[in-house]
């Protein structure tokens, strides 16, 4: 009986939800749970950019953008619930900021024909657009990240990593395991030894891993962490006096949330990034004027310019550009999800276009095609300055080692195609 009552009431509420006429870009965010501190800022940046477009330009091509939010708590079952509850509203694209949820959604979006945009996370081999027709992961993926980090270390060591020891501290989940195969291949190519140290999610327990690092004394430590795991790892590294400048995190391990709690000892910690940091870009002036000052920013705009805020905003920039492209291709501002997919595939964000948006040199050039859904894969490094409390970019955009990555991507995507019965296109 309880079930029936709940069912009736739920049905009534569902029916009462307003029909949406605008372009709908659901924001599957998480502001609670062990990853909430990181998820919050990303979601803010994502929302605020679309708010800016609505306030300043009246949307894209005259169509307003709506970003209905749904809390996933980084939990795959809630993610599925969010996907199903927002899909009916005419959702154009999904960006769930979770590799786990991405894996759930890949088959679903392919059946429902809605693009899935997973910048810097998700399934790496989705770069192969021949197999993953509806998934896009530009500008860079985990394997690009692993390769760029090793390239940076090569550069630091005069092009030779022979006999060096590198440890990988990773979140023991699909997300953290992604770079292992690439790093193994890279270690064969460059002759360094790789130690894999898994940390069970959410990641507060990592004493034994750092004990092993203290014993093995690796030359460098790479980290694939997220949420509370990052700050714990940086604190543990500081505790064993591991030199911070030899500690490099993936882009998801490089935000203010991760280093601020550790304080002064986090000074010199490095991480990858594929977007600019700080507020020294012309776009932030508009953001201040149209979004923050009128009080329309998420959480009062208190995180504007932080690393994760900027990354969420960057994801929104790419989606907005894809929408623009799709409108141009379709000849109408009211595009459908399938038309947006074509827009993504024809996307070409040049440095000139980025400057026009007000974000010069903010991200790498993104050019996608039918078989390349992952862009160039370029990333750069940033370093934390604990006294100034800010990140500074220390390298230019570096291209990954495609010689290693291409065969891996082909192998993994073909395995998926075989498993799921997909005939490659283009």
């Amino acid at each position: 009986m309880k079930l029936k009552l709940a069912t009736v009431a739920l049905g009534a509420f569902m029916a009462a939800a307003p029909a949406m006429a605008d372009l709908v870009v659901p924001n599957l965010s998480y502001r609670t749970g062990p990853y909430g501190a990181n998820g919050t800022q990303y979601a803010d940046g994502f929302n605020d950019y679309f708010t800016l477009l609505n306030e300043r330009d009246g949307g894209i091509g005259g169509e307003k953008i709506q970003t209905p939010e749904c809390e996933t708590a980084y939990n795959t079952e809630k993610g599925v619930e969010c996907y199903e509850s927002t899909k009916g509203s005419g959702a154009l694209v999904y960006n769930p900021l979770s590799t786990g949820i991405t894996y759930q959604l890949i088959p679903k979006v392919s059946a429902d024909k809605i693009p899935l945009y997973t910048p810097g996370y998700g399934r790496t081999s989705a770069k192969n657009g021949k197999v993953f027709e509806w998934v896009f992961n530009a500008p860079a993926n985990y394997w690009d990240g692993a390769s760029v980090a090793i390239k940076y270390l090569l550069e630091q060591n005069g092009g030779d990593l022979n006999g060096k020891k590198i440890a990988l501290v990773y979140h023991n989940s699909a997300y953290g395991k992604e770079p292992i195969r690439t790093l193994q291949d890279l270690s064969k190519k460059h002759g360094f030894t790789l130690t894999e140290l898994p940390v069970d999610p959410p990641g507060q327990e990592q004493k034994s891993q750092w004990l092993q690092i203290r014993r093995d004394k690796p030359d460098y430590v790479l980290m694939w962490g997220w949420g509370v795991m990052n700050q714990t790892a940086i604190q543990e590294a500081a505790n064993i006096r591991f030199p911070m400048e030899n500690f490099i995190g993936i882009w998801w391990s490089g935000s203010e949330v991760d280093v601020l709690p550790v304080g002064a000892v986090a000074n010199g910690y490095k991480s990858l990034t594929f977007n600019g940091v700080g507020t020294d870009y012309p776009l932030y002036a508009d953001m201040q004027k149209y979004v923050v000052e009128p009080g329309k920013a998420s959480q009062d705009g208190q995180f504007v310019g932080s690393a994760l805020y900027s990354r969420g905003m960057y994801a929104a920039v790419v989606i907005a550009e894809a929408i623009r492209k799709a409108q141009e291709l379709a000849g109408t501002p009211k595009i459908t999800a399938a038309q947006l997919r074509d827009g993504f595939e024809a996307l070409d964000i040049t440095p000139a276009r980025l400057t026009e948006i007000g974000l010069p040199d903010f991200g790498p050039e993104i050019k996608m095609s039918c078989d390349n859904h992952g862009g160039s894969g370029m990333a750069r490094l940033q370093q934390w300055d604990a006294s100034a409390k800010k990140w500074s970019l220390i390298t230019e955009f570096t291209a990954p080692d495609q010689e290693i990555l291409d065969p891996l991507i082909l192998e993994d995507s073909e395995a998926y195609a075989k498993e799921a019965g997909i005939t490659p296109r283009c």
């Binding site: 709940a6 069912t7 569902m14 609670t32 786990g100 894996y103 498993e419 799921a420 019965g421």
Partner: protein, 358 residues
């Protein structure tokens, strides 16, 4: 007045011993079954299937499984999530190794494999009980999840350690994979839930169930009257794990379509299902359904009310939701420690006497 049994006579022991001895109850049961099988599949959409009904049915199966072990046989288990993972990984290995075999057979086999694993981890129950057994099963939870994360054979050596359910069919209908229709998903889970609930009900009221309950109530006394504790405890572990394994297999293959061991089958899942059993009512099949409904539907319902209706921020709504669900759990346990099933039974008693209670 509303609920009466006047004129409802029983003339045989058989009539007296049926699951729904009151005619009105029986009709209600048939009516619910008819609606569930004949009406719902026609009107269900993918939101109702994926967000509400399919998880409810799957968790109900898992709750029945744990209820058999904890509610009927008195063996406390915190390893439910781990056993669900066994079901999920078993069905994944079977699906990918034997693509031609119908998926339902794989799900049943996954249940059987979980039953064997469950019996293995049930062996300590012969020597220890109560809290100590709970800790032993907790070890099973952590060991199994670690195993599925550690050994690449279980996830077919995929780069990320995720398992994905490929499309498999039943009588030409897709049951797993992205092309599955909402009604196919729902019907498969409903068939399993109804069949397993029927099996559980009949097992628990027969001699096997009596032995379990005798062990639960006082194991030494049970042994004296001729119940073999070894077979009783191990059969409880086997049957319970069979149910839980099927729930895990359905959760992965039909509901989610992809899973990773630590996220989908972590310790939280064990607690969730234990709460379902406690809130629903220990030792009750109806209670398992009620508990599953309470913990699956209430958060979705609250989310829809708070976010879609009141327009609250999603994080605030998520926190309030946790508080409301937590408070209701405490409230229910204080008001009725025997769970929703007992509450429902009391309601029926009261309605039968209304308006002249004595």
């Amino acid at each position: 007045m509303f609920y009466r049994e006047a004129g409802d006579f029983k003339t045989s022991y058989r009539d007296d011993g049926q699951t729904f001895p009151i005619r009105l109850d029986r009709w209600g049961y048939y009516a619910i079954l008819a609606v569930a099988f004949l009406v719902v599949p026609l009107v269900i959409d993918s939101y109702w299937a994926n967000a509400v009904l399919v998880p409810f049915l799957i968790y109900a199966i898992a709750a029945i499984g744990l209820n058999i072990l904890t509610g009927y046989a008195g063996q406390v288990s915190l390893g439910t999530g781990g056993f669900m993972a066994v079901g999920a990984y078993a069905v994944y290995k079977l699906m990918t190794a034997f693509p031609g075999v119908p998926i339902v057979i794989h799900v049943l086999l996954a249940g059987a494999i979980t039953a064997v694993v469950g019996m293995l981890f049930g062996l300590p129950s012969l020597r220890i009980k109560g809290f100590y057994l709970a800790v032993a099963t907790l070890a099973a939870q952590f060991f199994l999840v670690w195993l599925f994360n550690k050994v690449p054979w279980f996830y077919n050596y995929s780069a990320s350690g995720q398992i994905n359910a490929p499309e498999r069919t039943m009588f030409g209908w897709a049951v797993t994979g992205p092309a599955t229709t909402a009604s196919a998903k729902y019907l498969v889970c409903l068939c399993f839930a109804v069949a397993l609930a029927w099996v559980a009900r009949n097992l628990t009221r027969g001699s096997v169930g009596r032995k379990w309950m005798a062990i639960r109530d006082m194991d030494i006394a049970a042994e004296i009257i001729g119940v073999n504790p070894l077979t009783a405890k191990l059969s409880a572990f086997a049957v319970s794990s069979f149910f839980v394994g099927i729930a895990g297999a359905l959760l992965f293959a039909v509901y989610l379509g992809a899973a990773e061991a630590s996220e989908a089958f972590g310790i939280n899942k064990s607690f969730l299902i234990l709460f379902m059993v406690i809130i629903g009512g220990l030792g009750s099949i109806f209670g398992s359904f009620a508990g599953a409904a309470f913990l699956v539907l209430l958060p979705v319902f609250l989310k829809n009310v708070l976010v879609a209706q009141f327009g609250w921020p999603t994080d605030l709504a998520a926190h309030i939701e946790l508080m409301i669900v937590g408070a209701l759990i405490v409230f229910f346990l204080i008001v009725e420690p025997h769970g929703l099933a007992r509450l429902w039974a009391l309601t029926k008693e009261k309605l039968r006497l209304w308006p002249f209670p004595h």
